[in-house]
């Protein structure tokens, strides 16, 4: 009787232990299961757009894919002045010189970029559409030789600037015929922001949207933060890596993204609105910001600002985390960004300069 009672207790203990063990295993089993991640890519806005969604059901991911691709396709036509769309119509009417009402869709882009232009001391300025065209940087394939200096001088006689748009509510009037809008340094970031806003709106909280290197991430990739590599200028490799917070954008502008060589000299696409020529003094700037549109504008402004002015411009644009790589390959960092980057090279020594372009 006593023996059988002891046996029963031992049996019950063994059973409890087994149940606990099973429970623990099932829990750890679920915890260790790889996060369901959906990735999709498409070409739009002249670049490769990659979207990664974590912890999302298959159907929701498919719906998000359709919506985001649609969003980028519309942006591609409407925000590119060299395609038949809203911005091309805007530029035509602007050239007419009479006041006109701006499309509701285009209005926030123009107003947002005007404000950023003002804060950048005019170093980011979307009013330089004619200059972009003159240099041939509006095409996928640049024209291969610089324009005649006289042509640049003629355009710069009265430098085009966003401040020369005269606003009256939703109505705008051009006051300088040299002004044509090119949102190339802003629209991709803006589209990324719109994509993130859409994902949030449909309840997707963990996502990464990367439009040709212009990227914004929200949430996490399952059990870990999103990890980003910053490309090394003039090379295919990675310069540094960092982990992103819950909602951050990483934007880089570089002289290696679009350029041509002529007579042994490199001409890149980041034009200085003060001179009409490619910016001198910096090869790349990287900015960490909340929104991708503001980061896009800021990265461009910092390349134009160069090593002497970049910190003042970053400050005035509200950017605390930024990196500038100057024309000699030296790396300059704000104090807020320094501890976050893990470099693959010694940042004190800078980028080894390649004698080849």
């Amino acid at each position: 009787m006593r023996a059988s009672r002891a046996e029963r207790i031992a049996g019950r203990q063994a059973q409890s232990a087994a149940v606990l063990l099973l429970g623990a295993l099932v829990l750890t089993g679920c915890g260790a299961r790889p996060t369901p991640v959906h990735e999709f890519q498409f070409f739009a806005m002249g670049t490769l757009v990659e979207v990664t969604l974590a912890n999302v059901e298959h159907t929701a991911a498919q719906e998000a894919r359709r919506a985001i691709e649609g969003l980028f396709r519309r942006a591609e036509d409407d925000w590119d002045p060299w395609r038949p769309g809203a911005l091309a119509r805007f530029n035509r009417r602007l050239a007419g010189g009479r006041p006109f009402a701006v499309d509701a869709d285009l209005l926030p882009l123009l107003q947002g970029s005007s404000e950023l232009s003002r804060r950048s001391h005019g170093l980011f300025d979307p009013a330089i559409g004619r200059l972009t065209e003159l240099w041939g940087f509006h095409r996928n394939e640049p024209r291969g030789r610089p324009p005649e200096p006289e042509a640049i001088a003629a355009l710069m006689r009265r430098p085009p600037a966003m401040s020369e748009l005269s606003w009256n509510g939703r109505e705008v009037q051009g006051t300088n015929p040299a002004v044509q809008i090119d949102l190339g340094a802003y629209a991709k970031g803006y589209a990324v922001d719109r994509a993130i806003a859409h994902l949030r709106g449909v309840g997707i909280a963990n996502a990464l949207v990367n439009a040709g290197g212009d990227l914004r991430a929200i949430g996490r990739r399952g059990e870990r933060p999103w990890r980003i590599g910053i490309r090394r200028p003039h090379s295919a490799g990675v310069l540094a890596t960092l982990e992103l917070g819950e909602d951050e954008s990483v934007l880089t502008s570089g002289d290696y993204e679009r350029f041509f060589m002529y007579d042994g000299k490199r001409y890149h696409h980041i034009l200085d609105p003060r001179t009409g020529y490619p910016a001198q003094g910096a090869m790349a700037a990287t900015v960490i910001s909340r929104g991708a549109a503001e980061g896009d504008a800021a990265a461009t402004a910092l390349v134009v600002a160069g090593p002497s002015e970049w910190q003042a411009v970053a400050h005035d644009m509200g950017i605390a985390q930024a990196m500038l790589i100057d024309g000699l390959g030296r790396i300059h960092l704000t104090e807020a960004l320094r501890p976050r980057l893990r470099f693959t090279i010694d940042p004190e020594r800078g980028i080894p300069m390649d004698p080849k372009p």
Binding site: G11, A18, L25, P34, R227, R231, A236
Partner: protein
């Protein structure tokens, strides 16, 4: 311990084994290679399972194994782009674009290395053995 207890413990152990395989096994084979975050400056690649992802406009991305030397031809928007795989690296060798920036990008060997022929709508990115980076900013 009764026969039933033994059965429960046995089932638990079997579950351990199956959960292990379910969680850690599978095609990723996470137990080899170790991490490769960022890629060091030293040349060469020792990992056997390095792959590159090739994306062509309008089609889902495809991976190519950099462990096997050879040539790959992909049809882009303008025509064929050729990729050469050699010594665990990959590069563009031909593309119908004018600027040839894809070819100037040279060899891609480390995780995150990326080159694209945007006019032709062809992009190549090296993925790590355990893909540590989610995106490359440039």
């Amino acid at each position: 311990m009764t026969a039933a207890d033994r059965w429960v413990v046995g089932a638990a152990l079997a579950l351990v084994a199956s959960l292990y395989v379910w969680s850690w096994g599978g095609p990723l084979g996470l137990d080899t290679g170790g991490s490769n975050a960022g890629g060091s400056d030293a040349g060469g690649s020792d990992a056997a399972s390095v792959v590159a992802e090739v994306v062509v406009a309008g089609r889902p991305g495809e991976t190519i194994d950099l462990g096997h030397d050879g040539e790959v031809e992909v049809q882009g928007r303008m025509g064929p782009s050729r990729l050469l795989v050699q010594d665990a690296r990959v590069r563009f060798t031909a593309s119908p674009c004018r600027g040839k920036q894809c070819i100037h990008s040279g060899w891609l060997a480390h995780e995150g290395d990326f080159a694209a022929c945007l006019p032709n709508g062809v992009a190549v990115e090296v993925l790590g053995p355990e893909r540590g980076l989610d995106a490359i900013n440039y």
